[in-house]
């Protein structure tokens, strides 16, 4: 049923319908509304689950690790400093192959203190062995959670659903909320494996000395690579069950005969599509490639859709300080070295700490790369502030 909802509540309602057994979290803006609504749903008996608001994100991640290791479907959500604080446990969860789902309400990280949106937080754990899916709008954010549990429980990999803080979490949009029976039909009950159970005692997370550790990491890496197939398949099953496209590895917009392709993740795709439409009216052919599955990074798919494109523009909300754009690097790596094509790949770091990315900013970026490739540029910097502080 179509409901006019805050993004956070679309997520909390769908998460509740996925019937998690244990939910644990610690409040942090802009994630709070998701957890508060889940607390209410548990309180009112609409959701039969254990809910615990613990004393830090470190504890929240640890609680869901424990719950999952005991066979529960477990859920947590955080952002920014909270995700950074979870880091140690984030790695353990993946290493133990526990299919936990976490919502990251993407927000900038300190210092300086900033509560607004960018992708620097989830980027810090991109190498941890989690699947990371990015939502474009509130419908997709809600839908991805149903898919996330299914993907996680088929692959025994944890899944992080990334949604832009405030831009999505606090925005009201119509969201189609499914019926409980539809969710039940889509998402079968969790069949745990490798759990602590008195009937089959076992150890989880034991020592792997130098004879074994590499193999375990290799298997995890392969599992991530293999999960591409599952992500695609679950997205297709979702489309069949609910009649709309959500998730998958990537999405394209007006890419077929585009001379220039913009590549991005998350909610800014909406603004970019508007720009593409405007440019089309002006006679320019620009397309969009949107990465939904950031990890695993669908390198082959990216290559497939961009093979014939020679001018690429990456718009990303994160930076590897001292190196450059992160999504930009991933895109550059997607093309075989042996390829002889003269391809220009430009990268604009944009929207850090909630800086608005307007159509005119994007128009400027397009105009720049039409002339010459841009190795790395911060979009929309204010030179006056820099002049005062740059040492």
């Amino acid at each position: 049923m179509l409901k006019y909802l805050e993004g956070s509540h679309g997520v909390s309602q769908v998460v509740a319908m996925c019937r998690p057994n244990v939910i644990s979290a610690y409040p942090i803006t802009p994630q709070t509304h998701i957890v508060e609504d889940l607390a209410r749903l548990v309180g009112e008996g609409e959701l039969e689950a254990e809910f615990i608001n613990v004393e830090s994100e470190f504890s929240a991640a640890s609680v869901v690790l424990g719950a999952s290791a005991a066979g529960a479907r477990a859920y947590t959500t955080t952002t920014s400093q909270g995700l950074l604080l979870m880091n140690e446990v984030i790695y353990c969860i993946a290493g133990m192959r526990l299919p936990i789902v976490l919502t990251c309400a993407n927000r900038a990280i300190s210092a300086p203190l900033n509560i607004w949106n960018d992708h620097q937080d989830s980027m810090t754990v991109r190498d941890a062995g989690w699947i990371q899916l990015h939502a474009e709008d509130n419908q997709e954010a809600a839908d991805l959670h149903m898919q996330a549990f299914k993907i996680a429980e088929q692959t025994f990999l944890p899944v992080m659903v990334c949604m832009d803080g405030f831009i999505l979490t606090h925005a009201f949009e119509p969201v189609d909320i499914p019926e409980q029976k539809e969710v039940d039909a889509f998402l079968p009950p969790f069949k745990p494996q490798n759990i602590v159970d008195p009937r089959w005692p076992r150890g989880i997370g034991l020592y792997a000395d130098p004879r074994f550790y590499m193999e375990v990491r290799y298997i995890l890496h392969r599992a991530l690579e293999k999960s591409e197939k599952v992500i695609k398949q679950v997205s297709a099953e979702f489309a069949k069950a609910f009649g709309r496209e959500s998730g998958g590895l990537l999405k394209t917009y007006k890419i077929e005969d585009a001379d220039l392709v913009i590549i991005t993740m998350g909610s800014v795709a909406g603004t970019i599509k508007d720009l593409i439409d405007q440019l089309e009216d002006e006679g320019k052919k620009v397309g969009l490639l949107q990465i939904c599955s950031y990890r695993p990074f669908p390198r082959k798919e990216v290559y497939r859709v961009l093979k014939d494109k020679t001018n690429l523009l990456v718009i990303e909300k994160s930076i590897s300080l001292g190196r450059g754009g992160i999504l930009g690097s991933d895109v550059r790596w997607s093309f075989p070295r042996t390829e002889k094509k003269d391809r220009k790949i430009s990268c604009f770091v944009s929207g850090l700490g909630g800086r608005n990315i307007s159509i005119s900013d994007l128009r400027y970026a397009v105009a720049r790369v039409e002339k010459e490739p841009v190795e790395l540029e911060f979009l929309g910097l204010n030179p006056e502030i820099i002049a005062k502080r740059d040492m």
Binding site: Y26, P27, I28, T29, T32, V35, E36, A39, R40, G43, N53, E55, S56, E57, Q81, L85, S110, L113
Partner: protein, 277 residues
């Protein structure tokens, strides 16, 4: 009145950082005033003081005062302060935290700082809730109380922060309320003067989150409750446990001379031969 305002302005970044973000009527302003008056009386210059804070409404204090300030991450203020103090023991380091900051996410640091006994002043503004993030329960939310994460009443039991500090080994522990403003000034001053780890728990109110949802009225009603609930430590000694039920004791809970970490450190280095020139 004008004098007090002038005094307060001397210690604030009032031209740069105001207006502040606190709700009108919040107890944080009273704590800030008490801190400024106490610092002024101790005679330390603005540059001798370092105010370290965590994250929360209370944590904003380091933005507003004109001392050396370090606005850190949620829960970690005491650890940053430990570093500051070790690097330059001449600085007077004051740490301001919320109840969540100090006893939830930073609870571990709090008990270990008390145990270690560095010469730091810790001010904990206890408003029984996470104010900044919208009223979720904290480790001091009373049993049964409403919060955004306990919409049908809280099922956990609270910490008593001052008693926790006493048990963890702090050299000096006091508790005041924002209603008892004069006492608060005295407690702050004593805590800054104290050599060793000194903790002031300030019972405050967050009418916006806690008060509203628990039907406790506005700042005036909530401060009246502080007045009714508070009993001086000296008087409490003469009261029976039944009489003390539901009350909070205010005043100096503990004042003891304990070896300070830096002294102990010097002593052990000398014993090991490393202290000699």
């Amino acid at each position: 009145m004008a004098e007090i305002t002038q005094l307060i302005h001397k210690y604030l970044r009032h031209e740069k950082k105001f207006p502040h973000v606190w709700c009108p009527g919040c107890g944080n302003g009273i704590v800030l005033g008490a801190l400024i008056r106490a610092v002024d009386r101790t005679g330390f210059t603005k540059d001798q003081i370092v105010l370290v804070s965590g994250i929360g409404c209370s944590g904003r204090m380091s933005v507003y005062v004109d001392f050396n300030t370090l606005h850190t991450t949620h829960g970690r203020a005491l650890t940053f302060a430990t570093g500051v103090k070790l690097a330059n023991p001449k600085l007077q380091v004051i740490v301001v935290m919320g109840d969540g900051d100090a006893t939830a996410i930073g609870g571990n640091h709090f008990i270990h700082a008390a145990r270690r006994n560095l010469n730091l002043t810790a001010i904990i503004i206890n408003n029984n809730i996470y104010g900044m993030t919208g009223g979720q329960y904290s480790p001091t939310t009373p049993y049964g109380a409403w919060s955004a994460t306990a919409p049908y009443g809280h099922i956990e039991h609270p910490f008593s922060i001052a008693e926790l500090a006493v048990t963890a080994g702090a050299a000096w522990v006091g508790r005041g309320t924002v209603y008892h403003a004069n006492l608060l000034d005295q407690l702050m001053e004593a805590a800054i003067y104290k050599r060793g780890f000194a903790v002031v728990e300030v019972i405050s109110h967050c009418h916006t989150q806690f008060g509203l949802k628990n039907k406790q009225g506005g700042p005036v009603e909530m401060m009246r409750r502080q007045k009714e609930m508070a009993v001086r430590v000296e008087k409490a000694k003469t009261m029976t446990p039944e009489e003390l039920a539901g009350k909070i004791t205010i005043g100096t809970l503990v004042d003891r001379d304990l070896p300070i970490y830096t002294q102990e450190y010097r002593r052990i280095r000398e014993a090991a031969g490393g202290g000699k020139k």
